[in-house]
């Protein structure tokens, strides 16, 4: 790696939050007005292609690590170091955990990061005569070298252990999700498919965290009455639904979304608060659209001269995002000004204060009109913070510190803690719902993607048949084929493929993945039925689709 000692490195990385003077707080006897539950859902589908040395779609993971997961861990480290108590609930999906702990992807990410460091270094040199851009190039250089230090030296390339550390400290509650983020409401005709997603996820969680998960983030909050029974069977205590899942529950919920409901099975359902949701999701009315924040769509991968950037693209030479972006949103205009980190940080602090203020007012108002302390659930995709909204992790940082130091009305809490302290809740059946566009199943069931379901259903029907036909095996290739068949079913069921087909981003890849897994499964099925298999082929797909090494095909019966 190039020796960069001679450059004056100015620290333009994440600044420390401005030290806030704690108010004179009168603890002992003070009771908060309401609870705030921040939920981050971190998920990516399983994308791992050992058969290629370089694969574009693996970038999804590398970008998320660089822009979201590492910055979030840095925020948590800072809070721990500064002794700021906080609570965040975070889902890490089994596919994401699998990728973060996979040696090949860990090694590839390290190489990716090295290339970014190299590129940012070149950028520092190239922008020497443009002070505004030079500052930013230095900022990125600093960020990437810090990321490398954290990734390689501090956590030995295993970021799951980093998150686990904060769970063990009692600050982060990590919950699970469907094994491959399959959209459960569209698996209803075959309950074994739902069970397989849940049970596989729970077993996988246990192998990484040393205990069973207490809560789950249902993929896309997709809920149908009855799914909670499967959760109860797996020992899960709570899940989340969108607001109308609670509001349209039967019998009618007394406290709207501000208190959970117990399903008849005993599992608790927490509903999303829409007021806090819009403030963060909307790029027009919400924080991320502020003109001082970094513009997502202006990346040097596209702006700079081709031959210069070519070594940092993939082997096919198509321009892609590098993660180095120099401009701020500026306005409703195609002209973009250079990004100013300090101004952006000031904005993030202001927005964190604003968010907290709104939640305080909300809690205070609610506590006056209902006879229990309200809980406000604020769930977001983790990748919103840092990837789409560059300043997002710092906003979380400011928010946690302000909530801790600057106010008394709100208490940060996890759903587990809430249920321990408030175990009398209304029993009611939430309504079928999702948090996708239009609130039900349409996103995953429309003209571009409805074709997949006859195949996915056939796969889960056949898998159930295989699992029931083979309650035991004598080892040998049958056991391997059965487990591999189970893997192919799960991989085909990722709701990401249907989502991508609908939104149109990388459709070819999503279609290819769906078809690949359907074909592989069907061939495994035929092999098991005819009791003969091509060993080389089996070995090859075990190598390529190697998720969930300890998968248990009997969960599919």
């Amino acid at each position: 790696m190039r020796n960069c000692k001679n450059l004056a490195l100015q620290g333009f990385g994440l600044p420390q939050a401005s030290p806030l003077k704690p108010h004179a707080c009168f603890y002992g006897g003070f009771v908060e007005k309401g609870y705030l539950c921040m939920v981050l859902h971190a998920h990516l589908p399983y994308v791992r292609h050992p058969e290629f040395s370089d694969f574009l779609e693996e970038d999804w993971l590398y970008e998320a690590i660089t822009e979201t997961y590492i910055p979030l861990i840095e925020v948590f480290e800072g809070l721990e170091r500064d002794k700021v108590d906080f609570r965040i609930t975070m889902s890490l999906t089994p596919t994401l955990i699998s990728m973060l702990t996979d040696p090949l992807l860990q090694q590839r990410y390290g190489a990716h990061l090295d290339k970014l460091i190299d590129l940012s270094n070149k950028e520092v040199m190239r922008t020497q005569w443009q002070p505004a851009y030079n500052q930013l190039a230095l900022m990125y250089y600093h960020r990437f070298t810090r990321a490398r230090q954290m990734f390689v030296e501090r956590y030995n390339r295993n970021l799951v252990q980093a998150f686990r550390h904060f769970q063990d400290l009692g600050k982060l509650e990590i919950i699970t999700c469907g094994a491959t983020h399959g959209f459960l409401p569209l698996m209803q005709h075959n309950k074994s498919a739902v069970r397989a997603q849940i049970l596989t996820a729970v077993e996988h969680y246990e192998s990484h965290f040393g205990r069973k998960p207490r809560g789950i983030w249902l993929p896309e909050c997709g809920y149908v009455p009855g799914i909670d029974e499967v959760l109860a069977e797996a020992g899960i205590k709570y899940f989340f639904v969108d607001a109308h899942g609670i509001l349209h529950a039967s019998p009618r919920p007394k406290y709207g979304v501000f208190s959970p409901l117990y399903c008849p099975s005993g599992v608790a359902a927490f509903g999303r608060d829409l007021e806090s949701s819009k403030q963060v999701w909307s790029a027009v009315e919400g924080y991320p659209g502020d003109y001082y924040y970094r513009e997502f769509y202006r990346d040097i991968g596209f702006d700079l001269e081709y031959d210069y950037i070519r070594p940092y693209l993939h082997s096919d030479g198509i321009r892609v995002n590098t993660g180095i972006k120099y401009h701020r949103i500026t306005g409703e205009t195609n002209h973009k000004e250079p990004y100013d980190r300090k101004q952006a940080m000031d904005k993030a602090a202001e927005h964190a204060g604003n968010f907290m203020f709104n939640r305080e007012k909300q809690a205070e108002y609610l506590s006056e009109i209902i006879d229990r302390k309200p809980i406000v659930i604020c769930p977001y995709d983790a990748e919103l913070f840092g990837h789409w909204w560059f300043e997002g992790p710092e906003w979380i940082n400011f928010l946690m510190r302000k909530v801790y130091h600057d106010q008394k009305s709100l208490r940060l809490i996890t759903p587990s803690e809430y249920l321990e302290e408030n175990h009398t809740n209304q029993v009611s059946t939430p309504s079928m719902s999702s948090w996708g566009w239009k609130g039900y199943n349409e996103v995953w069931l429309e003209g571009t993607n409805d074709w997949v379901y006859r195949h996915l259903h056939k796969l889960s029907d056949r898998m159930r048949e295989l699992a029931q036909m083979h309650p035991q095996t004598n080892g040998g290739w049958q056991a391997r084929a059965l487990n591999q068949a189970a893997r192919e079913v799960l991989l085909a069921q990722s709701s990401d493929w249907a989502f991508i087909m609908k939104t149109g981003t990388m459709v070819n890849y999503a279609v290819k993945r769906t078809k690949d897994h359907i074909l592989r499964f069907n061939r495994l099925y035929e092999s098991l039925k005819s009791n003969s298999i091509d060993q080389d082929w089996l070995h090859d797909i075990e190598y390529k689709d190697n998720i969930f090494p300890n998968i248990n095909y009997r969960n599919f019966a």
Partner: protein
């Protein structure tokens, strides 16, 4: 109504029919759009199911202003989409996998719920079953195939005891269908069958039963967890992010609009986004565009063991003693003294290009 019948209607008749068929924003559509919408309703494809037209590999520079408008799928979906976004150009696959089976040789029909008002059914019918059916009905020519949709709310469905049913005549080689049932919180079962000219029906396959979700507050109240009507409405309004004081009908409409995502930014951006005809390309091109920039490359060569500085800062040499430095070039003058010092530090040479950039 057949397609030709629809096309024969006057605009006034189209509007009236569209209103009756609950086509969204029927008042704002052009005659052609009304025709398309009605054909879609007849074909069992809800307007929103139309595929979004994908633009060809887009241009390199994205007009970012257009991206700041609320997308048809809402902001949350746009953000989630960016997880999978690496750039506007998608890679072409050299070899796509061989085709998956068109059918599995089954004889069955499966129904899925899409939302409170729509179902989706797909099926496979075996030729033997069709033959059996035709024989049972005593027919030899091609027969009408229909979907018979049964409302089985509250029933233990045996085949004859549905609350109500309606038929959808299938056209062409359809193997799936979007069924508009229009009833939240109701249960349905669907047969695919043959119908004789006399109206006799033969079931080729029967589906699973499904229940549509509620689209409003439940009427069931638990005595132990009761509140006044006003209180319930207040809770609903606050939970939905709506203004307190709205009556239950207004709240219900607001929630329905929110679920159908018409009020998020208050913008009606044309009839298109509200029923997602898919005619709008994902990223709107801003029309013809052109950007230009110029950079400076300074390059040279010296003894591989020499030391070189450029404007006082050291420059790395390649093993062969050559070097290249590349600079973004702002307006103004750049004085660029480049000094090479011999390996034994005895001799130095300096060359100073001066570059001036102006933008007219």
């Amino acid at each position: 109504m057949t397609e030709s019948e629809i096309r024969a209607l006057t605009r006034r008749q189209l509007v009236a029919t569209a209103k009756e068929k609950q086509v969204k924003n029927y008042g704002r559509l052009t005659k052609d759009q009304l025709v398309d919408a009605l054909i879609a309703v007849e074909a069992g494809v809800p307007p929103a199911a139309k595929k979004a037209a994908r633009p060809e590999a887009a241009a390199v520079n994205i007009p970012t202003a257009a991206l700041r408008k609320e997308p048809p799928g809402g902001w949350q979906e746009r953000v989630e989409e960016t997880k999978y976004y690496t750039g506007p150009v998608e890679k072409r696959w050299e070899e796509m996998p061989t085709e998956i089976p068109v059918s599995y040789g089954d004889n069955r029909i499966v129904v899925l719920v899409r939302d409170p008002w729509w179902l989706h059914a797909y099926w496979e019918v075996s030729p033997q079953q069709v033959t059996r059916g035709k024989q049972a009905l005593g027919l030899s020519e091609p027969v009408k195939t229909v979907l018979r949709v049964y409302d089985v709310t509250g029933c233990d469905f045996t085949g004859n005891n549905a609350n109500a049913s309606f038929d959808i005549e299938l056209t062409g080689m359809a193997s799936n269908w979007y069924i508009h049932v229009g009833q939240p919180n109701a249960s349905y079962c669907v047969d695919i069958g043959l119908v004789s000219p006399q109206g006799q029906f033969y079931t080729l396959a029967r589906s699973n039963a499904v229940t549509t979700p509620r689209d409003k507050m439940s009427d069931v109240v638990d005595e132990k967890w009761m509140s006044t009507k006003g209180q319930a409405e207040k809770m609903y309004a606050l939970s939905g992010g709506f203004r307190v004081g709205a009556g239950s009908l207004e709240l219900r409409q607001l929630m329905e609009e929110r679920l159908k995502q018409e009020i998020s930014s208050g913008a009606w951006s044309g009839a298109i986004s509200s029923w997602g005809s898919g005619a709008v390309p994902k990223r709107q091109q801003r029309g013809f565009w052109f950007v230009l920039d110029a950079e400076l490359i300074v390059y040279g060569a010296t003894d591989p063991s020499a030391k070189v500085t450029l404007q006082g800062k050291p420059v790395n040499l390649r093993p062969d003693g050559t070097f290249t430095a590349r600079f973004a070039l702002p307006d103004g003058e750049q004085v660029i003294p480049v000094t090479a010092t011999s390996p034994d530090a005895v001799e130095t040479r300096t060359i100073t290009p001066i570059v001036n950039r102006m933008t007219k």
